[in-house]
């Protein structure tokens, strides 16, 4: 036994591998826990905004509600429609949920607290988020139901459309930062006027992530009044739970992305040195919570968009604007010799 | 890191291309802002832009300059060919404006696409590396695919576009494959590096078969583009299916650019492989001349007929390349110039063929033209005589110079083949004259005045008739252009 622990295999592969698995496990655990309590928070916040109480019965203040929900979903029977394309039908929710998790590999939650500190972290995040659409299309198609298919089509075109302006927003941030590494993005020295220039892009980004995660007011893919649940109409029990988890995990992921790109990650807000004694991770979590609150707040406030309005906003407003803003920012940075 | 400082003076040799590209984009925006179509305005402005680009090319220095890190080469040869291309594009737009309105396909994108195709052709002609060759070729081809299918409600036009696209994509694939083989051998894509490496290898007699096969793949791809037999299958269908104005464009311009590109490739990077490519081009040339002559005989559709005519004519143009001398290249350039001008005139007549407001395109529809439209009939006669190479019209001199160059290089078999095919082809050109003068018309063609089209037609007739008076000017220019390409043989 002693021999094994001293062997090259253990020091080179075994131990680092175990550490990595441990990190991944911890990350997944935290994210799943966060997802569970995000649903709770959403119901509580919505309740407060609508002057009701939200979940109250299970546990103190209803705190055990998410666990009860989870147990209920797990113990139900999974129904697969007889005409469905079975492998794809099952693969779709798994893929959606997996994608929402793997993206966390590159998210730095504090200085150098990251599973994989890769050079092209921003592109990795963008690549993963652009793949999310497959889970939905596959689900819609494999269900072999017109509601599901319509919902999937809506969702796919919506996500593809808003990805374009999201990409341009990211490009603008990169212009100001000069690196694709997420730690560098946070640590980059951004003067005040650069932050101001990025402000309109923050607005575009916040709206785009609502569309990207199919959240209200852009939740047409689920549009229960006309599509009775959209692409997930045929899903039940465990598979449904995976979609649900995936959607909320995506929300948290997008909030983390916003935090890193615009809100300064784990750094204290507004660069106030006096607040630096608080650990970075706390700031990071608080900022994510702020963005998540924005998600829920929007849901409580705005009515659902009509489909053509949604497309118009994406292609005719955000795309030209963000394209223009990329040019403006690049021009300003070049003129004042502020390119990193 | 070495951040190369951008030098604006680099743009000067590429000024015509840059100007044309920018004006295409400006016209696109302008067209999109116009309320109803705006074809007339955009068309006129496109002609103006082409004319300005032509002036810029004329003003350009004819001494060779390479810019953009050796990707782009501007010299006498490229400038000459670019002027031809630009002239051809101007003629096409002028010919087709009326037709576009009549056929109800007056979209402002049409001239814009022509401009962009022109940019592509000019980049092809100025290519000094396989990369710029490829992007130029794709820019040109993509615009032409769209133009072929532009009448999207018409099954034939869509079919033409699709066929052209699929076969063109295949040709592009072959081109890339060939380029990658050559790159694999040489390790660079610049023409200069390829030429040096191949010359050194030829001197030692160690050229790898991989490089030669790569070159053959590239040749095949270009043969597709110039529609040389046996890579011509798309031509008749595309010519017939595409709207006549687009057919005119296809017949007049892209082949000039593609032949220019072929010459550049064969006499610049691949010049040391001349014995190898001469066999290939010999075959392409002989097969094109023969097939263009014989298959044309049975055609009833005039657009199809001119597809075969263009195949045959490409064969004659290739003859000059087979010769492998500066004279041969000069002859080939001159041949393409004359062919282009004759074709412009001919399509002026073909686009006039309408009966009761509907375009007709059978040869028999020309019957009795001498009675109803005598001026047109005589113009067509002159053009057909010139096409079949009857002295003293310009077409005769074109054929004369290529065969002179060929015989000077000692390719007697090809010369005889060429003469025979030329006689066969003369049959169908003369048949058109016979139909016009000796057949009875069932119903007369429409009478209409299209001043632009008449202008192009008149210029074309003046050229083919007047060439005999001052043949030296053009011949000298073409020889100068060829001398740039083949300085050693001069």
């Amino acid at each position: 036994m002693q021999e094994f622990f001293n062997s090259l295999f253990w020091t080179d592969y075994g131990l680092p591998g175990l550490i990595m698995v441990g990190q991944i496990g911890a990350m997944i655990g935290v994210v799943v826990f966060a997802v569970a309590y995000l649903t709770y928070a959403e119901r509580k916040v919505l309740g407060a905004m609508q002057r009701r109480q939200g979940p109250m019965t299970v546990g103190p203040f209803g705190l055990l509600q998410p666990i009860a929900d989870g147990v209920k979903l797990l113990s139900k029977e999974t129904i697969i429609p007889s005409q469905a394309n079975k492998p794809i039908f099952i693969l779709a929710p798994i893929m959606l949920f997996t994608l929402a998790l793997v993206a966390w590999a590159v998210i730095p939650v504090n200085y150098k607290w990251v599973i994989a500190d890769i050079n092209v972290g921003v592109l990795y995040l963008f690549a993963i988020s652009s793949m999310g659409v497959y889970g939905i299309i596959m689900a819609g198609w494999a269900s072999n139901s017109k509601y599901a298919f319509l919902g999937a089509m809506r969702s796919a075109s919506q996500m593809v459309s808003y990805e374009v302006s999201m990409g341009l927003v990211i490009v603008t941030v990169l212009l100001c930062v000069g690196s694709l590494n997420l730690t560098d993005v946070v640590m980059a020295d951004r003067p005040f006027w650069v932050q101001i220039m990025l402000l309109p892009m923050l607005v575009v980004f916040l709206v785009s992530i609502l569309a990207e995660t199919n959240r209200a007011p852009f939740d047409l893919p689920e549009g229960e009044s006309e599509l009775s649940g959209g692409f997930m109409v045929e899903y039940s029990a465990m598979t449904y739970a995976l979609f649900f988890l995936g959607e909320y995990a995506n929300m948290i992921l997008m909030s983390a992305m916003t935090t890193i790109l615009f809100l300064g990650g784990w750094l204290p807000p507004f660069g106030i040195e006096a607040l630096a004694f608080v650990p970075g991770i706390i700031w990071f979590v608080l900022k994510i919570c702020a963005v998540l609150f924005f998600f829920i707040w929007t849901r409580a406030t705005f009515p659902r968009y009509r489909y053509d309005q949604l497309m118009r906003l994406g292609w005719k407003v955000f795309l030209p604007f963000s394209l223009l803003w990329v040019v403006v920012v690049a021009g300003v940075l070049l003129t004042f010799d502020a390119l990193p | 890191m070495t951040a190369a400082v951008w030098n604006w003076s680099e743009i000067i040799p590429a000024l015509p291309e840059v100007f044309l590209a920018v004006s295409a984009m400006v016209l696109l925006v302008l067209g999109a802002c116009q309320k109803n179509g705006g074809l007339k305005l955009i068309g006129t402005l496109s002609v103006a832009a082409l004319a300005v680009a032509m002036v810029l090319t004329l003003k350009a220095d004819w001494t060779p300059v390479t810019v953009f890190s050796g990707q782009f080469l501007s010299d006498g040869f490229s400038s000459y060919m670019k002027i031809l291309v630009l002239g051809g594009l101007i003629a096409t737009i002028m010919l087709s404006m009326r037709y576009l309105v009549q056929e109800n396909m007056g979209r402002f994108e049409y001239p814009v696409l022509i401009l962009l195709a022109g940019v592509g052709m000019m980049i092809m002609l100025s290519a000094n590396s396989f990369l710029s060759l490829y992007v130029g070729l794709e820019l040109q081809s993509l615009s032409l695919y769209v133009l072929a299918a532009i009448r999207r409600d018409d099954a034939k036009s869509s079919e033409a576009g699709l066929k052209y696209f699929v076969l063109g994509a295949l040709a592009s694939g072959m081109l890339l494959f060939g380029i990658s083989l050559v790159y694999g051998y040489v390790g660079a894509v610049g023409f200069d590096a390829v030429a040096d490496t191949l010359a050194a290898a030829t001197a030692e007699g160690t050229v790898a078969p991989g490089a030669i096969i790569g070159m053959v793949f590239i040749l095949v791809a270009i043969a597709f583009k110039v529609s040389a037999v046996p890579f011509h299958m798309w031509t008749p269908d595309v010519y017939e299916g595409a709207p006549t104005s687009v057919t005119a464009l296809f017949a007049i311009v892209p082949k000039v650019a593609a032949i220019g590109l072929l010459m550049r490739l064969l006499f610049d990077p691949f010049v040391s492989l001349m014995p190898d490519w001469q066999q290939v081009v010999w075959f392409l040339s002989a097969a094109s001349m023969a097939w263009g002559g014989f298959a044309g005989i049975v055609q009833g559709n005039i657009k199809r007929l001119f597809a075969y005519s263009s195949i045959g004519n490409i064969g004659f143009a290739l003859v000059g390349i087979v010769a492998g001398t500066a004279d041969g290249v000069a002859a080939s350039i001159l041949y393409m110039t004359i062919y282009m001008i004759m074709t412009a005139g001919t399509f002026g007549i073909i686009m006039m063929m309408r009966r009761n407001g509907v375009a007709v395109e059978r040869i028999t529809d020309l019957a009795g033209l001498s009675k109803t439209h005598p001026a047109c009939a005589y113009a067509m006669t002159a053009l057909m005589f010139s096409m079949s190479g009857i002295p003293p019209l310009a077409g005769f001199f074109g054929k004369l110079v290529v065969f002179q160059a060929l015989i000077a290089s000692g390719f007697y078999v090809l010369a005889v083949l060429g003469l025979v095919s030329s006689v066969v082809a003369a049959y169908y050109y003369l048949r058109i004259i016979k139909v016009m003068f000796f057949d009875e018309a069932e119903a007369p063609l429409d009478r209409e005045s299209a001043p632009m089209r008449t202008l192009v037609l008149t210029l074309s007739i003046i050229f083919i008739a007047g060439f005999v008076l001052v043949p030296e000017t053009l011949m000298h220019t073409s020889q100068e252009a060829a001398a740039v390409l083949l300085p050693a043989n001069d």
Binding site: - | L28, Y185, V186
Partner: protein, 203 residues
């Protein structure tokens, strides 16, 4: 060793999924296998140290191009089995040509040699891979040495866009467009008239 394992894993899955792309009976499965193939190709690029190319491959091909493929095959409902029936007629010829080409290429591969000058020709203009990230290296030559090609590629894409619009966009008559500015500029007084009505008198 890990890299070798990863390479064989990616390469095997890539080859197998590429094979399934052309053998799968269901076109949707074909596209999904194509996506898997792209993904594994990206993995191979990562192993080569070309992480930028890998990410771009995923973003562009998986995230955009293949989505459109999937849209097309899902919406069109083409029966590929039916289409293949005609193809079997030309199968012998295709196999023959493919065989000839394969033999030629094998011979070519066997007799392959590089030019003696290749080392000098292929001397890379980029800085050494360990001194600068490859994303920076690509940027540094893409916008300097290859700026011409880059711009012309942009023009090619422009043409593709024009083509797509020309060939598909049609102006339909009788479509009622929403004018957002009109809606925004609408005042309450335009549509509503507040009247004070005395009790018992009626409107």
């Amino acid at each position: 060793m890990l890299e070798t394992i990863a390479f064989y894993l990616f390469a095997t899955v890539l080859t197998l999924s590429a094979l399934r792309v052309i053998t799968a009976r269901n076109p949707v499965h074909s596209v999904l296998f194509l996506i898997l193939a792209f993904f594994n190709a990206a993995g191979l690029f990562v192993l080569l140290g070309a992480e930028f190319v890998a990410m771009i491959l995923v973003i562009v091909y998986v995230g955009a191009v293949a989505v459109l493929f999937l849209f097309v095959v899902m919406m069109l409902d083409i029966n590929f089995v039916e289409m293949r029936k005609g193809a079997t007629r030309y199968m012998p010829l295709g196999v023959l040509l493919g065989g000839v080409l394969l033999t030629e290429l094998t011979m070519l591969f066997g007799a392959w040699k590089f030019s003696p000058q290749i080392a000098q020709n292929a001397a890379s203009p980029t800085p050494a891979i360990d001194s600068v990230e490859n994303t920076h290296a690509i940027g540094a030559i893409l916008y300097t040495d290859y700026v011409f090609i880059f711009q012309v590629s942009g023009l090619v894409l422009l043409v593709a866009m024009i083509g797509a619009i020309v060939l598909t966009h049609r102006v339909r008559a009788g479509v009622r467009h929403q004018k957002v500015s009109d809606q925004v500029n609408r005042k309450i007084s335009d549509s509503m008239d507040i009247q004070s009505i005395k009790p018992g008198s009626g409107a």
